[in-house]
């Protein structure tokens, strides 16, 4: 198990270097002058020339790459033109909001998706199965940004149950910074009013973000359950007169969870990508919104920084899933 974990760690580092190279490639292969890209659309020739020497863009590409990698290793993601602050600092400031949103959405996806998948497998082709089928197919097809707008119209504007957007109202003082996750921090500081308000704010964006994830978890779990429920040991368990609930919830679910786990890992990365949309709709101050507003103002370094950060989280999540897989199923440690 240890050697397996070590090998996975090596792959993780290798992939990180690869992604860094990829972002470097995107910056430099794109037609147009990277110096101009950094300088922004309104820069004069002089400014572009200054930036070219300042950023070492007059050097050869391999040289630039080494400089770039050196900066990355030191945690230097460059500076944002708009805010003139280090990108890493800003990404770190916005990352907790995104992670909080993704965690809550993932939680919703799992606690709703897994049982629903299980039930539709048990009652295959029944009415519940038909409903979840429609649900899971439309979950993947619905545009997240549009779904978000519809929910805002319904629950925030029409019914006024929940706030339209944002993470906390302006008048509410955020709890003392511990993890950066407002839900956790407010509980730590014992401030239940703030906890309640931030919970209200996170519900709609989390639902939107979790919807496609929920749909695919449901689908995978259902398919696996159907297969597992037909296997011999389930038949044997039934023959022994073990209760249906015990068979389904304990014996079958455990074995159906492996592919579901893989789907969860995959969807985690996918969610990090679509936070870009959900955060834009709900003005959620996370790295997605930061990337979008930077991209719209031609501020390139933050976009690259966020891409690297998302890539990093995704790889870490996938490595964790791989490790969990190997921990559950020892056969996979050899692979």
């Amino acid at each position: 198990m240890l050697t397996f974990a070590f090998r996975k760690l090596l792959t993780l580092v290798g992939t990180m270097i690869g992604i860094a190279a990829l972002t470097f490639l995107i910056t430099n292969v794109a037609p147009g002058d990277p110096a101009r890209l950094v300088a922004g659309p309104n820069a004069t020739e002089d400014m572009v020339a200054t930036i070219r020497t300042e950023y070492g863009l007059d050097k050869s590409l391999p040289e630039q790459f080494i400089v770039y990698m050196g900066e990355l290793v030191r945690g230097d993601l460059g500076t944002s033109i708009v805010t003139t602050r280090p990108v890493l600092e800003e990404v770190m400031r916005y990352a907790p909001a995104t992670l909080e949103l993704v965690f809550v959405a993932m939680f919703l996806g799992i606690v709703i998706g897994v049982p629903l998948g299980m039930l539709s497998a048990v009652y295959k082709d029944g009415p519940l199965d038909q409903i979840t089928r429609i649900f899971s197919i439309s979950g993947v097809a619905i545009p997240a940004f549009w779904f978000g707008i519809l929910l805002q119209l319904m629950f925030a504007v029409d019914l006024e149950w929940l706030p339209v957007s944002g993470r906390l109202p302006l008048v509410t003082r955020p709890p003392e910074f511990v993890t950066g996750l407002l839900l956790v921090d407010s509980l730590i500081s014992g401030n239940f009013a703030t906890f309640w308000v931030s919970l209200q704010h996170i519900i709609l964006p989390a639902i939107v973000l979790s919807f496609p994830c929920l749909a695919s978890i449901l689908r995978v779990n259902r398919a696996e359950m159907i297969e597992v429920l037909q296997s011999d040991y389930i038949v044997a368990a039934r023959a022994h007169g073990i209760s249906s609930f015990r068979i389904v919830a304990l014996y079958a679910l455990k074995n159906a969870m492996l592919p579901t786990l893989a789907m969860i890992g995959l969807r985690f990365g996918w969610m990090l990508g679509s936070t870009v949309l959900v955060e834009t709709v709900f003005d959620w101050p996370g790295i997605g919104l930061y990337a979008v507003s930077s991209a719209l103002s031609s501020d390139f370094k933050p976009v690259v920084g966020v891409t690297l950060m998302i890539g990093f989280f995704f790889i870490v999540a996938n490595t964790l899933v791989d490790l969990a897989y190997a921990w559950i199923d020892p056969r996979l440690r050899k692979a």
Partner: protein, 311 residues
């Protein structure tokens, strides 16, 4: 005893007439009729097919049938701006007084173009690389697969966002960026399939009678990879349209007044609670189109790849 030489059975009487098309392709026709039968039986497949056909028809003749064709090119009619849905303007009007119904219908052509280009480029690049990686093996495969995994290691939308940011906003760059992040899926699919097919006996026999590699790839490997590719392409048409609309919504894709669904919603959002119809209808168009392609892909998988029917 003299053996009377056996006379071969004379079959020439039957064969004087050239085989008709139906006779030559009898087995394929039977196969296709079975497919059609299975497809017709499934409600969701037929729904998907209908939605896709509707979308294709609108993309083909949309500009000819809409009530206000000038709405697509940014015509300004301030006297009719932001009107709710009515019998004159079925889906209402936008902030320039353009008919949203016309813009949504004409937008189908934009979306079709986006979907076809992204899926087409991705499939061509991905299939080529995948088939080479799977068939050649060795370091060629290692290089291609490592490179592919690298692209898969960053969520597609995030990577596409970075590429568009580097290239500059606009529909062409957006399509290009999505095509760049889309091909790796095909490499994985085709590589895996090629790996298993190349061990089959008929490949070995083809090689033993002197078939060259390109011939084998084109005539033996590729046709046998086709069913999962077709299923994936159908699904990807929808997802590519959705992704391009997402970039349009962010403001990095198609720029107004171009009639693209995502960018329409992007503008509509600023007119949000009061002018709800502005974002409702373009969004519904995206949803139904993507749903159609997904259901169609699902239905195709059911008939082409029955082993995964319960997935």
């Amino acid at each position: 005893m003299t053996a009377t030489p056996m006379t071969p059975i004379d079959t020439s009487v039957e064969d004087t007439r050239p085989l008709t098309f139906r006779e030559r392709h009898a087995s394929q026709i039977r196969q296709w009729r079975l497919y059609a039968h299975m497809f017709r039986k499934s409600f969701s497949s037929m729904l998907g097919l209908s939605l896709v056909v509707l979308f294709l028809v609108l993309a083909a003749i949309g500009p000819l049938i809409v009530p206000y064709p000038e709405a697509a090119s940014g015509a300004i009619n301030m006297s009719a701006k932001l009107q709710p849905p009515s019998s004159t303007y079925w889906f209402g009007t936008d902030e320039m007084g353009a008919d949203i119904f016309s813009r949504v219908i004409i937008g189908a052509r934009t979306s079709l173009w986006i979907g076809v280009v992204i899926t087409g480029i991705a499939a061509i690049v991905g299939i080529t690389l995948g088939i080479i990686a799977g068939y050649r093996g060795g370091w060629v495969r290692a290089v291609i697969m490592r490179f592919t995994e690298l692209f898969l290691a960053v969520p597609g939308l995030a990577l596409a966002l970075a590429i568009v940011a580097a290239l500059g906003p606009g529909i062409t760059n957006c399509v290009l960026a999505l095509a760049i992040v889309w091909w790796p899926g095909y490499v994985r699919l085709v590589e895996a399939k090629t790996l298993s097919i190349k061990e089959e006996l008929f490949i070995e026999s083809a090689r033993s009678i002197g078939a060259k590699t390109p011939w084998i790839l084109w005539h033996h490997i590729l046709p046998n990879c086709m069913s999962p590719i077709i299923v994936k392409m159908s699904m990807d048409m929808g997802m590519a349209i959705l992704s391009a609309a997402s970039l349009g919504f962010i403001g990095l894709g198609a720029q107004p007044p171009s009639p693209e669904w995502g960018s329409m919603i992007s503008v509509a959002r600023t007119y949000m609670p009061d002018w709800w119809w502005y974002s409702l209808f373009p969004g519904a168009a995206i949803f139904l189109t993507v749903l159609g392609f997904n259901l169609l892909g699902d239905g195709l998988r059911d008939i082409l790849d029955p082993r995964s029917r319960d997935r």
